[in-house]
Symmetry: C2
Subunit: 380 residues, 2 copies
């Protein structure tokens, strides 16, 4: 019988200069796990006959967006116009869907500049009054693609029912340079529900508004509509239910601790792998069984609990935040060494990534690249 060989993981570099000489805290990518995740999601979505438009709000990286386009993505999503500006400035030429409504006068000025620079954008609207300012941004002899944001009952953004969608669609039709292209439908409440069956059932219960909206828009003549939505939590059931024809998943690239705990088993049983870590260092270990790391609320977004230690000599050790710059690890059997570097899986990847300027990318050959967090801080 063949001996099972574990795949390489970035934890194999613990204790080596490759990790110990990083300025900590630092974002670390396990490139093998990242590529595994990119390929796995692409193949799932392709097998279901849908399109994948990964959400760049997770990684904010032009380098990762390019990898996603190379694995067949139809484009990317950006949460905010500022992200699209940064990714375009970094050279990304993918079609970008801005998933939040663009409302401010100053934002319209930025949209206009980006469109005039040649960016291929799609925007979403959830109110008739949004249309005139958007139309005014569009360069002569071109058109702006627009999707109607449909609220699944989250009350965050979107039209609340088919009648409201129809009013928006009628207003869009008033402008020759706005082209209604589809709808967006994001079930934010369901993404972290567990088990998977509860998640699927809850999304299914929200599809009525979407179906009625699509029917209303088809009555108005709409055909071959983009129906874009979903996320890392719901993609499997979204594909199974077959209403969405484009998936907006983001976090699957990194698989944070919160998603690790959400029963994400995908079709076929192959799992996504944790691909993003924060390298943090023991800077004090004067109390037996405890060590202080140089990473606190400025190194992790703390909205979803604490980081996890998945590998190395302290795997499974508990962690507590100790303010803005520090956290405390409680040891198991292994003692801590001053200066030692640990790898921590972030509780929530998107807002954690947003704290850093760069990713340190490692594969089995060692350090292979430093990628900028291209749209870091671009929340506008």
């Amino acid at each position: 019988m063949k001996r099972q060989v574990s795949p390489w993981s970035v934890h194999d570099l613990l204790g080596t200069p490759a990790l110990e000489d990083l300025p900590t805290p630092a974002l670390v990518i396990d490139r093998h796990a990242l590529m595994h995740n990119l390929g796995l999601m692409a193949s799932h979505v392709q097998a279901a006959g849908a399109a994948l438009r990964p959400h760049a709000k997770t990684h904010k990286s032009a380098d990762i967006a390019v990898l996603q386009m190379e694995s067949g993505a139809s484009g990317v999503c950006c949460a905010k116009l500022g992200e699209a500006q940064a990714l375009f400035a970094a050279g990304l030429r993918a079609q970008m869907l801005i998933t939040s409504p663009i409302v401010a006068r100053e934002a319209c000025a930025r949209l206009s500049a980006l469109l005039h620079a040649g960016a291929n954008l799609m925007v979403c609207v959830d109110h008739p009054d949004a249309c005139a300012p958007l139309s005014a941004c569009v360069p002569e002899d071109s058109a702006l693609l627009v999707v109607i944001d449909v609220d699944p009952g989250l009350r965050r953004t979107g039209v609340g029912n088919a009648a409201a969608a129809r009013l928006v669609a009628e207003r869009i039709a008033d402008f020759a340079n706005l082209r209604l292209t589809g709808v967006q439908f994001y079930c934010g409440m369901e993404q972290h529900m567990a088990p998977a069956s509860a998640r699927a059932a809850s999304v299914a219960g929200r599809l009525d508004t979407l179906s009625q909206t699509i029917a209303a828009l088809q009555d108005m003549g709409a055909r071959d509509f983009l129906i874009s939505g979903g996320g890392t939590g719901t993609f499997a059931s979204d594909l199974e239910q077959g209403v969405l024809n484009e998936i907006q998943a983001g976090s699957y690239v990194f698989l944070d601790r919160h998603y690790t705990e959400c029963d994400l088993a995908a079709p076929g049983g192959t799992a996504f792998r944790p691909a993003l870590f924060v390298a943090a260092r023991v800077i004090s270990a004067n109390t037996a069984g405890l060590a202080t790391l140089d990473a606190g609320f400025k190194a992790f977004a703390a909205d979803s609990g604490v980081p996890a230690i998945l590998g190395g000599p302290h795997a499974g050790a508990g962690l507590h935040f100790m303010g803005d710059e520090h956290s405390l690890v409680v040891s198991g059997s292994q003692a801590f060494r001053r200066g030692e570097v640990l790898l921590l899986q972030p509780p929530h990847c998107d807002p954690t990534v947003n704290l850093y300027d760069a990713y340190h990318v490692f594969d089995s050959q060692g350090p292979m690249a430093i990628w900028p967090v291209t749209a870091r801080g671009c929340s506008q």
Copy 2:
């Protein structure tokens, strides 16, 4: 009887282009409140005969550090070496105390470069093994000022008792270019305790270790020691107890929501004023009584609850985070307008500031400056 005139506040600009045309979310400073806070803390500390070394980890701003030095600060604190590097590079020439131990080989290389560039630094140590690497960083014919970090029982950093402090002091004495200058003592658990009397009592209960440590070091010949510590929560009782001779307060410059709720009434009864806000915008308001703002976990650190709305038509309205990019406000009597800008007091200022590249500074004359967040992201 004279009519009471409210002082100007940045809330007076709500609804005007000065705020409505900001790219949101944006950090906003009320400069009158900031200057009030700077003066108030400086006068309290001066009246008690102590020194003030404000913590730059809160604002990370060379501009604000200069204002603090102009109001009599003895220097500034930095939580991490990276902050000191950024502030020095921006031209700040204050003496900077790095309040976290410097442990990594790569950090020592950065320390050495900064010292050789002429920075006036003070570092803290909590282990004898820290001394040799620090000594190796010091330029020829100069000396590095060192304080011993004393653990008040927090188990974060610091020596745990007088005997351990003595071992560190003995090791420091082995190096001609390290100069023991004092101790650091930060009671992190007490800063947010309320009421103020409980806070004072709890700190008083922790002073034994500090007093024993100081006595042990005096036995070894130490005189005129710096005894640096405290914070915005405890400064009043720290000054009253008179053990610390230097106060490291940071958050008083901005007064976040968490500190607002902590019974901070200072000697004399004059209160600190909220000086920092996040300008956020209504981007969707399709449900009566609710509005969605363009600010979520990427616009606020969420470790200490939700922001507060202190002024304007929606003062007192409740807020819920709705993910990385959005939050939901629940209205009172006033309806929300799409595009409207609100001012939100951050729950916790330090890690919120760390999310932004710039402060938009306003006073009663209108917009008066954009200050960079000089050390944004410099957690290394």
